[in-house]
Subunit: 231 residues, 2 copies
């Protein structure tokens, strides 16, 4: 990862949103410098680069204004490097479908996992698990439709939703490891299960997926800084 | 609006999200059929066209799959009709900035107005008003930066953020009409105030902005179906 790179990424290894950008940079063979951020003690660089949300990832490209927000960064990278491994499909309807499901994952599906962690009551937790299962079933349908019998959401090769959902797998697996709750299973989401095994072993994803210790440390930080709500 | 149109829009006149799509269709001189939806009693067409969110707007284009969500519809229209009145700028950084602020408006700024309506406590309402004011100041800065001394967020002509924020003005004005709370004012957001007067009198926006009776009816429906929370 080049010290002379024109591209720098402010991030933290445990963030699926950061991992996405890393995955895309890797797929597109873009050299970049990773600037590791401590979210428990945010840097001046992060605070001034993303004053509205103060979140990672932020992409710094040469002397252009800093770019926050993973979907926006990915579309940007796809626009400035359109020829090497396009991430979004070229057909406008397929692009719209990809954006729709990416937005669904970010605004509905993934936040349920954080709700699950923070909600104290057993019954409320069961209700959230039900919603996660319903979400996974919607994603199974989306996969069947978009992959059209091929290996990935993007068809024969990794596309936008493979990146977006693939980078969450470290966290769904983390939940599965430390609880009885299984998210992606043969009985409900057989195609998504096959896909998850396929993408999990993808070389470019392996490089960015955080290991268990990193996830555990991040989880502990969340428990301290954003503890479960009072019962 | 053509009965033989290839494009149909499921919507309701009071929705700023629907208005955006209407505004873009008008700017691009695209003929379409408007299918009026009663949100208090949703149609089969809406429920089957947008099963995930069950919300307007939904764009129906010939025999293609239905497209929900205004940002996704607008990008789609801009991609299939790129030559007539482009909505997003062509420069990738400017596109990213536009997407960033559109997302800010949808996920942070505008939801505050709904919070204001639903929050019962006087102190909590004051806190939300403070956040709305901070938001309007961020948008003033964004306008100064993106318009670069010109008339619109999009420069010399109406662009993405002019559409996105312009269609909310009916609601900010509605709030201002029925309360002492002024959102866009000379003292805090002078450029945004000038812009709001300019865009408000834009011919293509005038055609889609709902009148006071429509807003009032919608507001009453909200009060009944999603009443303010108990104190």
């Amino acid at each position: 990862m080049g010290k002379n790179s024109e591209i720098k990424l402010i991030g933290t290894a445990a963030s699926p949103f950061v991992n996405r950008v890393q995955f895309v940079l890797s797929l597109k063979s873009i050299d970049y410098e990773f600037i590791d951020e401590n979210l428990a003690n945010k840097s001046e660089l992060l605070l001034t680069s993303n004053p509205v949300y103060k979140k990672v990832p932020v992409l710094l490209h040469a002397n252009k204004p800093p770019l926050p927000e993973s979907p926006i960064i990915i579309e940007y990278l796809d626009e400035i490097y359109p020829d090497i491994h396009p991430i979004l499909p070229s057909d406008p309807i397929a692009r719209a479908d990809n954006r729709f499901w990416a937005n669904y994952i970010d605004t509905k599906f993934f936040p349920l996992f954080e709700d699950l962690r923070r909600t104290p009551g057993k019954e409320e937790k069961e209700e959230i698990k039900k919603q996660i299962i319903e979400g996974s079933e919607l994603l199974e349908e989306a996969f069947v439709k978009l992959s059209n019998g091929k290996a990935y959401f993007g068809g024969d090769d990794v596309g936008y939703l493979d990146v977006v959902l693939g980078c969450f797998l470290a966290w769904t697996k983390f939940v599965e490891k430390y609880s009885e709750f299984k998210v992606i299973v043969e009985a409900r989401t057989p195609k998504l299960l096959e896909w998850s095994e396929r993408i999990w072993s993808h070389e470019a994803l392996k490089d960015v997926i955080p290991g268990n210790e990193i996830l555990m440390n991040f989880f502990m930080m969340l428990q301290i800084h954003k503890p479960p709500k009072a019962a």
